[in-house]
């Protein structure tokens, strides 16, 4: 699974990245996590509400920081 955490590097983006790490650890999901901070790339993915989450090339969440348990559900739904 390929996960991208999208956001310009602000506080909420770091929180989202933390929550993703916690979610992966607690659910035992194997994934590569990449942080994308470059604005032009963000916009090219269709993101204007940050932070956002992309899984296997598809945008799944934007504009908030879900709890780790909600991220697990999100990822399980796609596995």
């Amino acid at each position: 699974m390929d996960i991208k955490v999208l956001g310009p590097g602000c506080r909420n983006c770091r929180r989202l990245a933390d929550h993703v790490d916690q979610a992966l650890a607690s659910a035992g999901i194997d994934a590569t996590v990449e942080k994308v901070e470059d604005i032009e790339r963000l916009v090219s993915y269709g993101v204007t509400s940050t932070p956002a989450l992309m899984v296997d090339g598809e945008l799944v969440m934007a504009g908030r920081v879900p709890a780790p348990s909600q991220i697990v559900e999100l990822l399980r739904g796609r596995a």
Binding site: C10, R11, V43, S44, V47, A62
Partner: protein, 353 residues
């Protein structure tokens, strides 16, 4: 008989919120007698003295403002979860009218986005065909008229001042955006912004349950309180110290309503000062009591909240320096004019809650 049935998940989501609201009311009514008792009875400080007054002011105001901030941030975050940058953009796209700019100010005050996403929001708006001036109106209104600023003003100065501030902020945002729109500065936007084609994104306001929205509200309250409590303590602490120990009319001669240079100076001071309304509002009350004019203080607060150096540096990625400078000058001049107007109108007025 028709019986109104509410779905179970809705009940389960609302029950803790209503319980919390009830506890909130009890606390809000209880803090004044509580701190009266602690400071004057348990600690035995005299009510009329400097120390007694300052200690009471500090504890009572900190707890009152924390309660007000918590409630304001929660309510606004839950309401905001129904709006999104995507929805707002769709509402504003292609509106080249004054109405579009007014709408942008109102939406800017209510659409959720953190200042660090100013740049993606800017690109999203401009590439979706929202006029440049309207986009600036949105970006100005958003930090200036937030729940934190309004809750602080309400808590310390009461409803009329808070309402006056909101109206002033919205008008300023509309005026600054309209002026920038008239100047035809589109060529100073980095070209890649116009070359961006927007892919369909995700609208964060859709597909949320009440429980999700309340969780967003709760998380936001926790996050904001964690972030601002040092500012609150320092702001109220300094305010209490100024109240107690700076002589009356200390500023009246140097920076009273008659000194025209006080306002521009306050605005200049406010640009590099990057704090939020939480740190500034308590100081405003204290400084006003010592003779600083209302308009000067309003200009200072607007400048601190609306013109922030870090955000300007971020905007450099999409705007040429000339446009950034124009934006700062237009907004600063508008704020100075507002300050001077308020000094002329309410020069002798006093702020009392």
């Amino acid at each position: 008989v028709h019986v109104l049935t509410v779905p179970r998940p809705v009940v389960r989501a609302w029950a803790p919120v209503l319980a919390a609201a009830a506890i909130w009311v009890v606390l809000y009514r209880g803090i004044l007698p509580f701190w009266d008792w602690v400071v004057y009875d348990a600690l035995g400080l005299e009510a009329g003295t400097r120390l007694g007054g300052a200690v009471h002011f500090f504890f009572y105001d900190v707890s009152k403002l924390l309660l007000l901030l918590g409630a304001a941030v929660f309510v606004v975050s839950v309401l905001r979860s129904f709006l999104s940058v995507e929805r707002t953009r769709a509402l504003l796209g292609g509106r080249r009218t004054a109405l579009g700019t007014v709408l942008a100010a109102l939406l800017g005050a209510s659409t959720p986005f953190c200042s660090c996403s100013a740049v993606p929001v800017f690109i999203g708006f401009v590439s979706a065909g929202v006029p440049l001036g309207t986009t600036f109106t949105f970006l100005v209104a958003s930090p200036m008229v937030g729940p934190v600023a309004v809750a602080m003003l309400y808590g310390l100065f009461g409803l009329p001042i808070a309402a006056l501030y909101v109206a002033t902020g919205l008008v300023l945002a509309v005026v600054a955006g309209t002026l920038i729109g008239r100047m035809r500065l589109e060529r100073f936007v980095e070209p890649f912004v116009y070359e961006t084609t927007l892919r369909q994104g995700i609208d964060p306001s859709r597909g949320l349950t009440w429980a999700d929205r309340f969780t967003i509200g709760r998380d936001e309250v926790v996050d904001i309180v964690q972030r601002i409590w040092p500012y609150l303590l320092v702001g109220i602490g300094l305010g209490a110290a100024i109240h107690g120990w700076v002589p009356e009319d200390f500023f009246a001669r140097a920076a009273g309503p008659d000194n025209p240079f006080a306002v521009p100076l306050a605005v200049l001071l406010g640009i590099p000062l990057y704090t939020n309304a939480v740190g500034v509002v308590p100081l405003i009350g204290a400084l006003h009591a010592k003779g600083l004019a209302l308009g000067t203080l309003l200009a200072f607060m607007l400048s601190v909240v609306a013109l922030s150096l870090p955000e300007l540096i971020l905007l450099r990625r999409v705007l040429r320096l000339r446009l950034i400078v124009t934006f700062v000058v237009v907004l600063a001049v508008a704020i100075v004019a507002t300050g001077l107007l308020f000094n002329a109108l309410f020069g002798a007025a006093t702020l009392t809650p």
